[in-house]
């Protein structure tokens, strides 16, 4: 399981459209065939009533029937052909003016207006009775207080969002905004039970011409089916979309799912590394290897109930050197990954290799180097039989606890590899596999000993978790477009800084990137480069690898542009 | 008495081939049954009398049982060899059987009526009404009260005597000419035994039916039998009219059996019994099977098996003691 960061996941799935101009000149193919996407059962959405959802899949499912305001392609170029005709940011970075298309209709044929959006924001997303899970995205800190931004209707198709502070990355939150119809929502306002159970919302019967597909059927644990929306606002001239149905089919295991792809029973699914060569050899299948937002890391517990050594930069670096990233890429991912040195992936527009210190890959790797650095940091080795053992400051052998969650073969293998590699530098590691909720409650949540404060993920430098731990192997997601979201992990006041990393330089950089100083793209890149450098040197965690995904399609699917956001033009895909 | 043989059994041998060895349950039985007579097969339990009865209709379990030798001639057909289909037409129709324990011999989950009608329908071409009427009549003849109720009753709802009578009624349903009654009174109490014996006697008298009556109880033999055959070790050791057997038994074993009869007139202090056990059918003694228990055993008895020989026209015995033997 990954700690899914921010709004990351669902952008991938949410459909986006090419600009109309690219369509001109395209011959209009006839809609035919059923596109079947394979997914594993755990990935199923919670609800189609998206405002109640906490998971990425729910937004993804809704996205087939209801477009967001804007989207971007594989290179993160903004594509202004969703529900917004234009989104303009004032030069001071405080006022966002959104102009909607004027041909958008709800299912009752009434127009989608700026009022629907402002209503959705003010009365639903910001409301207390509904308690939208991600409403903090729409807050800013003013004079130490968190307050909501201010939406207001300008005219039928225009509304503005006014902020009091500058956040250059707020616009990405805005792009993802989707509306509820005011004419239905107002019936349920204030009644959370009625809103939750409203048929219109749970069956998406209001989506009019707002998406390429219309909801048809959702058999839990089995399939989610949407059918072609003949009224789709971009389909009038092009005839899009070109599948009569789009199905997400759930599978119990990915092995069965891949078997189904091989047999031609489904159109598309992810392929696991060991099976890629086989699928690449198949004539009927195209396999695209694309970057993802996922990366793995080992948190170093720098709180009082972890090994004190980990509070030293040199020790963290030494441990990171002992864990060879290329080995992990080769052995765990069979090559489908690349070493990570910060939370900014190479696919991000803000990525640069400049100044990054690359612990864990040659030359900063190896047993020898790690042991030397540990000795330099003031730790001694003794020989215990045929083993060399690292001693702590009290003259006891260093024993570390690695916690992680069971369920993923790769994560389990990786924890075993880490155990082995650390044992090579004289550190004994005990691997503890605990279920996710346990991990969160007993290892991640913390509070100052003796206090009666509510346990949180970061209760300040004094706080410690219930159970002691030293290393935690986890998977995180990042947002290549707005990596600063990772401040929840790495800033001193970050809500998920459960491992107790406190660094003023980092804090300052995170503040800077979310301020007026970062409004200019080049300035922002400079800040990110600096952030990546400090991160890679400080090693608050050992960033391990960014993973690559393999996506297998039947070859007769045309119109695919492989890349990190390859679904952005999915409505133009077709069978040939 | 008609002297024509209705059923003729010649040198019948029914052996059971079990994992532990061959059980020679019936090992050379000869007898002829005449029309209208009641032939009693007498012997201790395990002597082979029941298997003999079952063999007549090939009703023993097969495997492991098998008729290895001998003939059972009925109406010119050898029942020991004839096709099973043919035998089935005879079973229940020409030759019927009454078993020892009606409680277990009746199927517990069908009504008495159903079980009788089933047999009628198997052999007679009657419609349901007629069959029902016949069943009613049969039960009535067996002096079963509330016939209509009895027809719809299940075996467990009837008393032991009623069940036994119902079974006799069933066996008579197709007017057989031979009735094999395998200890029909063992499992019932004295009053009912008397009723059943009465019924059988009536049958013999009124219907001119031949009966093979199997029992270990000589007092019943005296009551109903015309002739009696004493069986020991799977063979007939003595056969003669009942009067003769009871009064002038020739075989030491028969004598033993008769001396075991409680004699109301005598004043003996204890009931006599025959020393020893019935022989193990898997391991028969050599020579005369009775010799280990015989109080008049001779050397020849240990090595030579005595043949069944007539000492009178109507009396045959298999014993070396008999003067005619071997001459």
């Amino acid at each position: 399981m990954n700690l899914k960061y921010a709004r990351s996941g669902w952008k991938l799935i949410i459909a986006s459209l090419l600009t109309l101009s690219t369509l001109v000149g395209c011959s209009a193919p006839v809609a035919k065939g059923v596109f079947i996407e394979g997914d594993v059962t755990g990935g199923e959405a919670e609800t189609l009533n998206w405002i109640l959802a906490a998971d990425a899949s729910s937004f993804g499912y809704v996205g087939y029937t209801l477009e967001s305001l804007a989207t971007y392609d594989n290179q993160f170029n903004i594509q202004m052909r969703c529900l917004a005709r234009d989104i303009e940011v004032s030069s001071d970075g405080l006022v966002y003016t959104v102009t909607l298309r004027n041909d958008l209709k709800w299912s009752d044929d009434s127009q989608v207006t700026a009022d629907d959006y402002v209503y959705t924001l003010k009365n639903l997303m910001f409301s207390d009775w509904l308690n939208y899970n991600y409403r903090d995205d729409w807050k800013e800190e003013v004079n130490g207080q968190k307050v909501f931004v201010t939406p207001s209707v300008i005219n039928n198709t225009t509304f503005t969002i006014t902020r009091q502070t500058v956040d250059p990355e707020f616009i990405y939150t805005l792009y993802d905004l989707i509306p509820y119809p005011k004419y239905i929502s107002s019936k349920y306002e204030g009644n959370v039970a009625a809103f939750t159970q409203a048929k219109e919302f749970n069956e998406l019967s209001y989506t009019g011409n707002l998406g390429p597909y219309k909801f048809k059927e959702w058999l839990r644990n089995d399939k989610f089916v949407v059918e072609r929306n003949p009224d789709f606002f971009l389909g009038k001239e092009s005839g899009a979309p070109f599948f009569s149905e789009y199905v997400i089919k759930m599978f119990g295991t990915s092995a069965v799912m891949q078997g189904a792809l091989e047999a031609g029973d489904i159109t598309y699914c992810g392929i696991e590394p060991p099976n890629v060569p086989k699928f690449k050899k198949l004539d009927r299948i195209n396999v695209y290897t694309v970057p993802t937002r996922g990366y793995n890391l080992i948190s170093y517990n720098q709180r009082a109930n972890g090994w004190e050594g980990l509070r030293k930069k040199e020790v963290r670096q030494a441990v990171s050197m002992a864990i060879d990233k290329d080995t992990i890429v080769q052995k765990m991912y069979l090559g489908f990954a690349e070493p990570a040195f910060s939370f900014i992936p190479s696919s991000s527009p803000w990525y640069s290799e400049e100044n990054v210190v690359k612990f864990g890959v040659a030359p900063l790797t190896g047993k020898q180097k790690a042991m030397e650095q540990l000795k330099a940091a003031g730790y001694d080795y003794t020989n215990n039989g045929d083993r060399t053992v690292l001693m702590d400051k009290n003259g006891k052998p260093v024993k570390l606890i690695l916690v992680t969650t069971p369920g993923s073969d790769i994560v389990e293998s990786m924890s075993l590899l880490i155990k082995q590699e650390l044992s090579d530098i004289g550190i004994e590691v005990e691997v503890k596999m605990v279920q996710w909720p346990t991990l969160l409650r007993q290892y991640m949540m913390n509070k100052a000993p003796g206090s009666d404060e509510e346990p949180r993920y970061n209760n300040g430098p004094q706080a410690v978790s219930e159970e002691p731990w030293d290393l935690a192997l986890m998977g995180h997601n990042t947002d290549p477009l707005a990596p600063s979201g990772s401040s929840v992990f790495f800033a001193s006041d970050g809500g998920l800084n459960s491992f107790g990393f406190f660094n003023n330089e980092i804090d300052a950089l995170f503040k800077k990137v979310k301020s007026r100083a970062a409004l200019d793209r080049d300035d922002r890149k400079t800040i990110y480069i600096e952030l990546a450098r400090v991160m890679s040197e400080e090693q608050p965690v050992d960033f391990i690898v960014f993973t690559r995904a393999n996506r297998g399609f039947q070859k007769n699917v045309k119109g695919i542009e492989p890349g990190i956001n390859m679904g952005y033009n999915y409505y133009l895909w077709r069978f040939e | 008495m008609n002297s024509e043989a209705l059923l003729e059994v010649k040198n019948l041998k029914t052996w059971f081939f079990t994992r532990r060895g061959i059980v020679k349950a019936v090992n050379g039985v000869d007898f002829a049954l005449r029309r209208g007579e009641c032939l009693c097969l007498v012997g201790e339990s395990g002597c082979g009398k029941s298997v003999t009865a079952l063999s007549l209709l090939r009703l023993f379990d097969s495997p492991p049982g098998k008729i290895v030798e001998g003939e059972i001639i009925y109406q010119g057909i050898d029942l020991a060899r004839c096709p099973i289909g043919h035998l089935r037409q005879i079973r229940g129709k020409d030759i019927a059987m009454v078993f020892q324990n009606a409680q277990s011999a009746l199927n517990p989950i069908f009504t008495i009526g159903d079980q009788i009608i089933e047999q009628i329908n198997t052999h007679l071409d009657l419609n349901r009404e007629q069959a029902l009427e016949k069943a009613r009549m049969l039960l009535d003849k067996m002096r079963i009260p509330e016939v209509d109720r009895a027809l719809t009753q299940y075996p467990h709802q009837m008393s032991g005597g009623m069940k036994q009578r119902a079974m006799i009624a069933m066996s008579l349903s197709c007017d057989p000419c031979i009735l094999i009654a395998d200890e029909p009174t063992t499992a019932v109490d004295v009053t009912i035994r008397a009723q059943i014996m009465n019924i059988l006697q009536e049958l013999k008298r009124n219907r001119d039916m031949s009966i093979i009556f199997i029992t270990h109880d000589l007092s019943l033999v005296r009551e109903i039998g015309d002739r009696a055959a004493v069986i020991y070790g799977g063979r007939i050791v003595e056969i003669a009219p009942v009067e003769r057997i009871l009064n002038k038994p020739a075989h030491p074993y028969t004598r033993g059996l008769i001396s075991c009869l409680p004699d109301v007139s005598s004043e003996s202090k204890r009931l006599p019994s025959i020393e020893g056990n019935t022989p193990n059918p898997m391991d028969m003694p050599s020579g005369c099977p009775f010799h280990p228990r015989c109080n008049r055993v001779m050397d020849v008895c240990r090595s030579v098996l005595p043949e069944l020989m007539n000492i009178l026209d109507v009396h045959a015995v298999a014993c070396h003691l008999h003067p005619n033997l071997g001459k």
């Binding site: 899970n133 998920l496 | 199927n107």
Partner: protein, 320 residues
Amino acid sequence: MRNYIIKRLFYSVIIAWGILTVTFVLLRIGPTSPVDRYILNIAAKGQNVESVKQAIEARYGLDKPLIEQYFTYLGNLLQGNWGWSFSTSMPVLELIGSHWIYSFQLILLATIFAIVLGISIGMLSAVKQNTKFDYAASIFSFIGISIPGFWLGLMLILVFAVQLGIFKTYYDTNYPIWSLENLKQLILPVMALGIGELAGYVRYTRSAMLDNLRKEFVTTARAKGLSERTVIGKHVFRNAILPLVTIIMFDLGSIVFGGAYLTEIVFGIPGLGQVSFNAIFANDYAVVVAITLIGTFLVLLLNLGTDVVYTYLDPRIRYD
């Protein structure tokens, strides 16, 4: 009889209520919480988990005292309101309504498969005791009761779907229930689910038949001149079936709640088993309780039905 049925029904209601209570309490007193599934995403936002947790609990009425929730639930249930499944966001009854058929057809077919084949093989085996067929059937039945159904399912998929490609690797809900394609894709699951029961029935039938073949009434029946077919098929079989009925009904209970779920998982059949177990993992008590309740009640009704049928099959049994 009528009184007996009423008494039993009343008794069933009490048992079902007990099970409802146990399930409800178990799900709600444990350290896991329905909110767990949200924590991951909420926590990732760095939001105050407590406030969001409270909001979600309030949304689904989980914030009230347990006893109040329990009586609210019970009250709703008595009015025919089965509640709202918050993990799938649909009414519980609707959820069950759209999934029951997949479990039902699987269980029904597997049971028929096991009963028909099991009893036939068992009968033949008893009639042909100690022949090659009997030995083969006996070995087969030992294998059948010993093979783990879920593993057999995997192996069947591996061989027949992956290697030979005769079947689809997954269950396709697009085929109408009554179509041949649907029957075809149920072959492997039905085999995986039914094989254990089948093997059991072979053994039970064989031994019950042998038991009854030894009975005296069989000799009587033969002595009546009945054909062997009638003797075995009617007199012996009708007696041998009696204990089988109980065993089959008892097995149904374990199929409904055990084997069917594993089979559904292995073959990807979206039946109630999957629904209920996913609901367990989501702490979605309304669904778990509803399915347990319906399942238990069905099993109890089946038991009662068995008892009633039994009085027809075996006239010796009477209930007062």
